[in-house]
């Protein structure tokens, strides 16, 4: 194990919820006029913003919801439960248990050293590095299946993970590989 531990921070968790029933969005608006935004002309979904945890939930009349903006898995699920509770309290009938599924986790991390991107292109495999278009190197990892944007400063963005654990796995795996191939220099 290396001396430098990467600092990982989860930035966003996207959760989808299926209620298995259709919803009448107009009645939701009538029941909760102050908390929701609904403009069917602009966007077919209803937007439900929570202050705590700070998230935005999109509710569609097909009975599907998408919750974005949470900073962790637990917070995301908490937010969804709170939205459902609010809906029920305001008199919307919801039957059955909602299916909650985490769709995407975005995390940022700092590896703590400078990375030689030009060499990394040749050794990592499944990469794309176009400094003319984007200063970061795009690395598609197969297991766990995530996409990592790697920058010369040693910071990175990891997207596409379905679990918090996968983010950690991916970052540590990448660190190991970078050290093996001598692509990272710690100051």
């Amino acid at each position: 194990m290396s001396k430098v531990k990467p600092i990982i921070q989860i930035e966003n968790v996207v959760v989808s919820v299926t209620l298995n029933q259709s919803l009448d969005l107009m009645s939701v608006v009538k029941a909760l006029p102050d908390t929701v935004e609904y403009e069917p002309e602009q966007f077919p979904g209803l937007i439900f913003r929570l202050k705590k945890p700070k998230t935005a939930t999109l509710i569609f009349n097909s009975g599907r919801m998408v919750c974005t903006g949470a900073k962790s898995e637990d917070l995301a699920i908490k937010a969804v439960k709170r939205v459902i509770r609010e809906l029920k309290r305001s008199g919307i009938v919801l039957i059955g248990k909602p299916e909650i599924k985490i769709q995407n986790i975005v995390a940022s991390a700092n590896m703590g050293g400078r990375i030689d991107l030009e060499k990394a292109v040749f050794t990592l495999g499944r990469t794309m590095y176009e400094p003319e278009q984007f200063p970061g190197l795009i690395y598609r990892m197969d297991d766990p299946k995530v996409v990592i944007l790697l920058f010369a400063s040693g910071k990175l963005v990891c997207t596409g993970a379905k679990k918090e654990e996968e983010v950690k796995q991916a970052v540590y795996k990448l660190q190991k590989k970078l050290e093996e191939e001598d692509l990272i220099t710690y100051e």
């Binding site: 030009e118 400094p131 003319e132 278009q133």
Partner: protein
């Protein structure tokens, strides 16, 4: 033959084919292995283009730049039969009609028509970019591959065409920036970049990153900079790459800064503005790259 055979006298593998005397000669000891080389050229002679067209019995080599690879059948308009006898009126009319229909049904279905359209578009762009022929061939091949993998569905033909040209330039090591391609195709740079990334990803092609050095000779040409300055600029870029100053930096900006620095070092200074304009980057970029290089390269400049 010369690649397999070796000289029976000295065992040398480097044999020379002399087509004038029809001999195969060992380059080491001068031993003549064969003195009756068959001539592989045509048996006819031609003194100008017209004669060559008349005498040659073969067509042009196959090419990816034409939708049927240049293997189409065309019916001649001249009123001669295969024995070079003049045709009579009815026969000539019949052939005229055949020729007309042959031309019409050459593009049999819509997909072929699309391909033909895209390939002419490719040729046009490559013409205005002044790329050599092999780049156009490569670009056409990339476009065909993309078509075969159904990557063009739901995307604009123009976008994919521009992206294939850019990709071909990169594969052939030609210095063409996205800006130039977007200028001649009159397309958004972002859109070309997006299509480019998409086809590179889907075709899982490996494309090495651009070396800033390829831009140096281009920019110095446009600036009218001497060869010596150009050389020094190349050295600076090499050094900068070694010191990992170029990671995550645009190659054009690095090249511009190196040229700027080299122009100062050799005493025929160009302004940052001039250099930046040629490289199509901002002056700020040139300044930042320049100070990066200065800090790390131990160059002292007296102003």
């Amino acid at each position: 033959m010369s690649s397999v055979a070796k000289c029976p006298e000295c065992g040398n593998r480097n044999l020379i084919k002399d087509y004038d005397s029809g001999e195969i000669i060992c380059s080491n000891c001068g031993y003549v292995l064969d003195d009756k080389l068959p001539d592989s050229g045509p048996e006819w002679r031609a003194f100008d283009d017209e004669q060559r067209n008349k005498r040659s019995r073969v067509g042009a080599p196959t090419t990816y730049t034409i939708h049927d690879k240049g293997l189409s059948t065309t019916i001649d308009w001249r009123r001669f039969s295969y024995t070079l006898k003049k045709m009579d009126q009815t026969k000539a009319l019949q052939i005229y009609n055949l020729r007309k229909w042959q031309r019409r049904i050459r593009l049999s279905d819509s997909s072929e028509r699309n391909l033909a359209f895209a390939l002419t578009e490719l040729s046009k762009i490559s013409m205005s970019l002044n790329t050599p022929k092999h780049v156009l061939e490569t670009a056409s091949l990339i476009y065909r591959k993309a078509l075969k993998k159904r990557l063009i569905r739901g995307r604009s033909i123009q976008g994919i065409v521009a992206a294939s040209i850019y990709m071909a330039c990169r594969l052939c090591g030609l210095a063409r920036t996205l800006d130039e391609i977007s200028k001649v195709t009159m397309m958004n740079k972002r859109e070309i970049a997006r299509s480019y990334r998409f086809i590179v990803k889907e075709l899982s092609e490996f494309i090495p990153p651009v070396d800033p050095i390829v831009y140096i000779s281009r920019f110095s040409n446009q600036l009218g900079i001497q060869g010596r300055t150009e050389e020094i600029a190349c050295e600076i870029v090499k050094k900068a790459i070694e010191l990992k100053l170029t990671c995550g930096r645009g190659p054009t900006g690095v090249a511009a800064a190196a040229l700027y620095l080299a122009s100062i070092l050799t005493g025929n200074r160009r302004t940052q503005r001039e250099v930046a304009e040629v490289a199509n980057v901002t002056e700020v970029t040139v300044r930042n790259r320049y100070s990066d290089i200065l800090k790390n390269l131990d160059i002292i400049i007296w102003v």
